[in-house]
């Protein structure tokens, strides 16, 4: 494995994209930063700008308003970038599948690397999911 990828996996800065979620998953993401879970142990920092991001944490059903914006946010992020779909809505549109604002599942808009189901998923589940995708990339290269 080359040095570039090794460094990326040791210091993934996360960026939070909410595409019409009910705010529950967003609060669980913020929980990961609290003293109890402290993701800074793994070098993860919540980045303010999409240009600094290595991991996009996406929540919510992709609404009509958000679909083009999600695509644009993905294009604005410097590559390589990992996309994580958090919550039942992001994975499979959940209970809002037949809503008049729902468009297509998230993985048809952007390439999703890991799905974390749950409504909302526990912070442990989010951390486990992110570390799993890091393991997967480490093994595959």
């Amino acid at each position: 494995m080359n040095l570039k990828l090794k460094a990326l996996l040791k210091s993934p800065w996360v960026f939070h994209v909410a595409t019409g979620s009910c705010n529950n998953c967003d609060i669980e993401i913020i929980d990961c930063l609290t003293p109890r879970y402290d993701i800074e142990r793994f070098g993860m920092v919540l980045a303010g700008s999409i240009r600094h991001a290595d991991i996009l944490l996406c929540t919510g059903i992709v609404t009509k308003q958000c679909a083009p914006r999600l695509k644009r946010a993905y294009e604005q992020a410097p590559k390589p970038v990992i996309v994580v779909a958090i919550g039942a809505c992001a994975c499979s549109q959940g209970i809002f599948k037949d809503s008049y604002t729902a468009t297509v599942p998230m993985d048809q808009v952007v390439p999703v690397d890991v799905y974390i189901p749950g409504c909302p998923p526990k912070p442990e589940a989010i951390i486990a999911g992110v570390t799993k995708v890091i393991e997967k990339i480490r093994k595959s290269s």
Binding site: L3, K4, L5, A7, L8, K10, S11, P35, D38, E40, R41, G43, A47, G48, S49, R51, H52, D54, Q76, P78, K79, P80
Partner: protein, 308 residues
């Protein structure tokens, strides 16, 4: 050739970069411990820089490419130069030249100006807003900073050489032991906070409202340079103040431990102020710097003129 070596390796770039990154880790770890967290491992800042160097560099559409990419380099070069001058004089006071205090004061402003130019060049409204706030912040803190820096110069009867200041403090005791020096040092600690743009003066970067201020559009290698510049500032600026007020860091024998503990103490103070204060608005910061702090600095100058 030898001067280039000084600039690039020992007191210059490499040394300052390593020390600065370790200092930024100390800051992050202390922040984490104050918030009852575990915090990152010690090599985290090094890995961050390495990772950013490997990422894609994006120049936004419509931005001025040359200015956008060269602004971080200007900041990096000037902070390296400051560190080289201060360390060369600290290690060997006879190497000081006339007016090096003035040179250092000028060069210390350039990293902020480089950030500002980069922000304006990036054609992003948030970056422009951050850059304009940075400009207002520079205008506010430079006045008390210069007044406070005059105090040691008056105490040494007009020495504008860092070397002379060091030899004076070796013979007559530290500047900070006088009443005027104490007040000036108190003023300078707040200016330090603003120059490093840490809370309560992290107004230009205001993460919650401006994302990251002037650096919002930077990615990849330029962002790595900006992060490195910030880390180097965190190392260089306290060292400059230690040289001015606390008698420098002497390197002979056991004294080096005392010197390093001076720096660590100042760094811990900066970190604790950062973690226990909320962010001010830019007008409040201006009022604070031009009001109470300038008055205090003027009192210090008057006391120094009276010989206290």
């Amino acid at each position: 050739m030898k001067n280039l070596l000084y600039f690039l390796i020992f007191p210059g770039f490499l040394f300052t970069a390593i020390c600065g990154l370790v200092a930024s880790w100390v800051d992050r770890k202390l922040t984490a411990r104050l918030q009852w967290r575990v915090g990152p491992p010690w090599y985290q800042p090094f890995i961050d820089i390495l990772k950013l160097l490997g990422k894609e560099t994006i120049v936004p559409k419509g931005a001025s490419k040359l200015t956008f990419l060269s602004a971080p380099l200007v900041s990096l070069a000037s902070v390296t130069l400051v560190s080289t001058i201060v360390w060369m004089v600290d290690l060997n006071p006879s190497k000081s030249f006339v007016g090096d205090i003035i040179v250092v004061i000028y060069l210390l402003t350039i990293p902020s100006i480089g950030l500002m130019i980069g922000g304006f060049a990036s054609r992003n409204p948030l970056a422009s807003l951050g850059a304009s706030r940075e400009m207002k912040l520079i205008l506010s803190y430079e006045l008390p900073f210069l007044l406070a820096i005059i105090v040691p110069i008056i105490k040494t009867s007009g020495a504008i050489r860092i070397g002379e200041l060091l030899t004076y403090q070796l013979g007559n005791g530290l500047i900070v032991k006088n009443l005027s020096g104490m007040i000036a040092f108190f003023v300078v600690i707040f200016v330090l906070q603003a120059k490093l743009s840490l809370a309560p003066f992290d107004i230009p970067e205001a993460e919650t409202e401006l994302m990251s201020g002037p650096i919002v559009e930077y990615s990849g290698a330029p962002l790595a340079i900006i992060k490195l510049t910030k880390a180097m500032m965190l190392f260089t600026l306290p060292i400059f103040l230690i040289v001015m007020f606390l008698g420098g860091i002497s390197t002979d024998g056991i004294n080096i431990v005392w010197g390093i503990s001076k720096y660590i103490g100042l760094l811990a103070l900066v970190s604790i102020i950062k973690n226990t204060n909320p962010r001010l608005r830019v007008d409040q910061a201006l009022k604070f710097f031009w009001g109470p702090l300038t008055v205090l600095a003027i009192i210090a100058v008057v006391l120094a003129c009276m010989g206290l």
